[in-house]
């Protein structure tokens, strides 16, 4: 039970933060990304506020092995700044700049019954499945990029 209700509560808090900060509004995001126009610094404060609160938790998590509700604490172990990281982040940034929507706000926008959010989330899921297919070597053209992802 807790393994379902706990992440649901986390999703609610995460989504409330995205609603309060204005990050669910694509224009608010592109207002930050448009350095040459009228610049809205809000997104930097959203990230700053989130990092300040999360940082001590990750410091604690590094010294602990078990999570509160059971199971192991799993932190990423990869260290190398490799080609998939660079190429993937570059591609992600282009998509983010184009629409002003990243994964979590896109999902939250579904809750506003926004039809554009549904189009975005379906396209995003298709992009994720395409990546999965590339890793599974079903798309040979993408094999090189995805080989060590």
């Amino acid at each position: 039970m807790k393994r379902n209700s706990f992440p649901l509560a986390v999703g609610l808090i995460f989504g409330l933060g995205l609603c309060l900060s204005g990050m669910v509004e694509p224009a608010k995001v592109t207002g930050f990304l448009d350095l040459a126009g009228l610049w809205d610094p809000s997104l930097a404060l959203v990230m700053g506020g989130a990092i300040v609160v999360a940082l001590p938790a990750f410091l604690i998590a590094r010294r602990r092995s078990a999570a509160w509700i059971g199971g192991a604490i799993e932190l990423p172990t990869k260290r190398a700044i490799d080609a998939p990281l660079v190429a993937g982040s570059a591609i992600f940034g282009v998509g983010w700049g184009l629409g002003g929507v990243c994964p979590a706000p896109g999902v939250v926008d579904l809750g506003f019954f926004n039809p554009d959010a549904a189009i975005f989330v379906v396209a995003m899921a298709a992009g994720m499945l395409a990546y999965r297919a590339a890793v599974d070597r079903r798309l040979p053209g993408l094999r090189l990029l995805a080989q060590d992802a």
């Binding site: 986390v10 938790a57 999965r132």
Partner: protein, 143 residues
């Protein structure tokens, strides 16, 4: 650079950011998982995976959050800036890129930076840079 003071919302940005950070803190200490939205959605699509159920629960929480937010304060319904083919292309690039790059704004930009991960600093710098360039081209070159 000209600051858009009319739209700058420092207090709700910091408050909303703190809630996002709280959610990330709860997920790593409570469930032992990093709160990266791209990994959560991408992982949820592998329905048979043992990690899929908690991811779907978190997604349900995200989708329900506007209903709670609207009961607590006034939230304007979001208006998407691009539609049709451009929106589809944006979604495809976001989904594919975030999975290939092992993270998005929450996974790298919030949790990764909070972990002081060099990989996440690199990823965040790169996706910010290409997003800045994309918006510049779309608004000031093409637009």
């Amino acid at each position: 650079m000209t600051v858009d003071w009319a739209h700058f919302t420092p207090f709700s940005a910091l408050g909303g950011g703190a809630l996002i950070g709280l959610a990330a803190a709860l997920l790593i200490l409570g469930l032992g998982r990093v709160m990266g939205a791209a990994g959560i959605v991408g992982g949820a699509l592998a329905i048979k995976d043992a990690e899929a159920p908690w991811r779907w629960s978190l997604i349900v929480g995200l989708v329900l959050s506007p209903l709670v937010a609207r009961a607590l304060w006034s939230v304007a319904a979001p208006v998407f800036a691009v539609h049709g083919l451009a929106l589809v292309v944006s979604g495809l690039l976001v989904g594919f890129g975030a999975r290939l790059g092992s993270g998005c704004t929450s996974g790298h930009g919030v949790c990764g930076l909070a972990r002081l991960s060099p990989r996440s600093f690199a990823a965040t710098g790169i996706f910010m840079a290409t997003a800045f360039v994309t918006v510049f081209v779309a608004r000031h070159v093409v637009g």
